[in-house]
């Protein structure tokens, strides 16, 4: 093939010898040839416009069919107004790992975390977090090391609000009673092991301190009743630590439920899927397999045990307390609580009529009491639905959280994916006409965009199912725990009831105590709505 390239181009100017007329014709033809790309580009532009119209029409068609075309989500006021009102002085009761995360949500970070955030370039994002006009002025922990970490965190001036934020002295309290007696503390955050939650929260409410308490609300029915009555008869704002419902996706899922997109929901499946020693609450060893720090000299063990039966000190118990029923309800207390809250915030189903649980210790055969495989069935005959919980600590196969309705199902995670049901009555026509495809998601929410997508391309579907997006407000990734404490502080300042209030906490507490009782007593447990009692 003689296709050698001649770089020196020939153009019409070299055709001087040609006749003038012919030359003009050649010239015109050469110029036209040179412009050959323009119609191609024009055609592409035309096709792009056509595709945009088609996609827009398709999206509108699905949304209209679902009655979602006029949906409007309230614009988040996040970061738009400066914190008004007085400074709130907060005390931490318990300063372990969770408290470290909570203090970051409040706007305080330990110098070590600042350093590691600097290294992975996430410090700037955190510093942009809304300044909440709070100061941590008290730390209470039975372990000296944790208390010192708390003090260093509270004193660190690298934080949102910068140098203008007030610098108040931080005090260490050696018992929570001491902290509750101090008039300088306005509110407390309780992040102790679960067996302390109810009685500390009750005493805090009696002392007039606002309460942010980690889940679970309570391990015992009588304690829960006392907490409920005390908070109800006080003016304090109680918020239970369930941050996931703060995600923008949840607001959108609420709208989906309200508009009955799913049809009648008769089954909800919730799961926990973990497969690691840490996930199974074996937490008393460091990365090298050596016991973590702490002994009876640096830990006030008697205070740590509190009302729980006596047990000799061990590093295992101190760090991996979830394994024993005296301190926690295992997966029910640590994981199902989040699931229950998610469902109850959406559907307001309240306390179940009956619960039966079963399971066992099938994989992590150490000194634990808590089962590593646990399945609970919550019956709600008055709502015509069953809530299932299935937790497993020896397989991380993702099983999701699914709301099953007659017309569609919704998988709710870091985003919401709604798929029409093949046997749906409502969408029968849409499915028949091809407008709705029951074999792939019908709509999904994109938290980044704050709007609804009718899912179209293969890769979009892929990302929707994986939930690679994060909760975003006004284009910024925001920590949901931060939003949850912010809601609590706003209610303290301006009045109002937070989302995980004492009513929700009571319903959750009862449901969890029932599930635990059912597992331990190996029988179905019922709720007597007249006597307000578990039977």
């Amino acid at each position: 093939m003689n296709a050698k390239v001649d770089r020196k181009d020939e153009n019409s100017s070299s055709n001087k010898n040609m006749e003038k007329e012919q030359g003009n014709g050649m010239q015109r033809r050469t110029v036209l040839k040179a412009l050959a790309g323009l119609p191609v580009a024009g055609f592409l532009g035309f096709e792009i416009l056509k595709k945009k119209n088609y996609d827009g029409y398709k999206r509108e068609a699905v949304l209209k069919e679902l009655g979602l075309d006029s949906i409007e989500f309230p614009q988040a006021d996040y970061g738009k107004k400066s914190s008004s009102g007085d400074l709130i002085k907060v005390g931490f009761i318990g300063f372990g790992t969770r408290a470290r995360q909570l203090s970051q949500a409040l706007g305080f970070m330990h110098p070590d975390d600042v350093k590691s955030r600097q290294q992975n370039n996430t410090l700037a994002g955190w510093l942009q977090q809304e300044y909440l006009n709070v100061a941590i002025t008290g730390i209470c922990d039975v372990f000296d090391l944790h208390a010192e970490k708390g003090l260093a965190t509270a004193k660190n001036e690298i934080r949102p609000g910068g140098p203008d934020a007030p610098k108040l002295p931080v005090k260490r309290y050696h018992s929570y009673q001491e902290m509750l007696a101090d008039k300088d503390i306005d509110a407390v955050i309780i992040a102790t092991p679960d067996h302390h939650h109810a009685h500390i929260a009750t005493e805090a409410a009696r002392a007039g301190k606002h309460v942010y308490c980690e889940k679970s609300p309570s391990l015992h029915e009588d304690e829960l009743n006392e907490l409920y009555t005390t908070v109800k008869n006080s003016n304090v704002v109680y918020q239970l630590g369930h941050q996931i419902t703060q995600s923008v996706v949840f607001q959108q899922a609420k709208e989906i439920i309200k508009r009955n997109i799913l049809g009648k929901i008769t089954l909800i499946e919730t799961t926990s899927n973990r497969n690691s020693a840490n996930g199974a609450w074996i937490r008393h060893l460091d990365a090298h397999g050596n016991p973590k720090p702490g002994d009876e000299k640096s830990i006030d063990w008697k205070q740590w045990l509190g009302n729980a039966p006596y047990a000799p000190f061990s590093v295992d118990r101190f760090y991996s307390w979830t394994k024993w029923f005296d301190y926690d309800h295992g997966m029910i207390g640590q994981l199902f609580t989040h699931e229950f809250d998610a469902v109850n915030q959406l559907l307001h189903i309240g306390i179940p009529k009956s619960v039966s649980s079963s399971g066992g210790i099938y994989y992590w055969k150490d000194n634990r009491e808590m089962p590593d495989s646990l399945h609970c069935v919550f019956e709600y005959p008055n709502h015509d639905l069953t809530l299932l919980y299935s937790g497993n600590l020896a397989s991380s196969r993702s099983r999701g959280r699914v709301f099953m309705g007659h017309d569609a199902s919704m998988e709710l995670g870091s985003n919401a994916v709604i798929t029409a049901d093949r046997g749906s009555t409502r969408y029968a026509r849409g499915i028949q006409s091809g407008a709705i495809d029951p074999s792939s998601p019908m709509i999904s929410f994109n938290p980044g965009a704050g709007q609804i997508d009718a899912v179209s391309s293969a890769s979009e579907k892929y990302y929707a199912s994986r939930g690679l997006t994060t909760t975003t407000i006004n284009g910024r990734a925001v920590d949901v725990t931060h939003l949850h404490v912010r809601e609590w502080l706003n209610c303290i300042r301006n009045g109002g009831t937070p989302s995980a209030n004492i009513e929700m906490a009571f319903q959750e507490g009862i449901a969890c105590i029932m599930a635990h009782k059912s597992y331990v007593e190996k029988r179905a447990v019922e709720w007597d709505d007249k006597l307000k009692k578990i039977v």
Binding site: N2, R7, D9, A34, A36, G37, V40, A41, Y462, L468
Partner: protein, 157 residues
């Protein structure tokens, strides 16, 4: 260029239009989708460029810069090929860019990707072929006849 037969010239121009169209639309589609980011693709990166990909995705500023350059780079290369404007640099840049895509997710034995794949590929995939096609276009230019480079060349003469 004057040595091309009519059929050869036509085939090369058609190839240039097709590849240009594809690259231009890839760029415009990203521009039209405000949520688009290369993070998902880079997360899949497994071979010799996976370290580079990790570095890009772990840094929001660099990721934004890469997204911006990628989108506008594709549009510029696509326009260059379709219109025949600076077609040779466009083809060379395009070959390099597309080859980088290939190096991030080559269909080699033992490398598994979670992203949906178009067709069955072993070592060679359509991305590699597109990179090779761009090399051909760089070596067999047509834009001084069928392209705006005609005017550039005329002005230079």
């Amino acid at each position: 260029m004057k040595n091309y037969s009519k059929l050869q010239l036509t085939a090369l121009v058609v190839l240039r239009f097709l590849v240009g169209w594809h690259i231009l639309y890839e760029g415009i589609a990203k521009l039209l989708n405000p949520q688009w980011t290369s993070a998902g693709f880079l997360d899949q990166s497994q071979w010799i460029l996976s370290g580079f990909a990790d570095w890009v995705t772990s840094n929001a500023g660099i990721l934004a810069a890469v997204d911006f350059l990628n989108t506008w780079g594709l549009i510029a290369i696509g326009l260059g090929l379709v219109l025949g404007l600076l077609s040779r640099p466009a083809a060379i840049a395009g070959a390099a860019l597309v080859f980088v895509y290939y190096l991030n997710t080559p269909p080699l034995i033992g490398l598994e990707y979670a992203l949906p794949v178009d067709g069955n590929n072993l070592v060679v995939n359509k991305t590699l072929i597109e990179a090779a096609a761009l090399c051909v276009l760089a070596l067999f230019p047509t834009s001084k006849i069928f392209g705006l480079d005609y005017f550039l060349a005329k002005r230079n003469n």
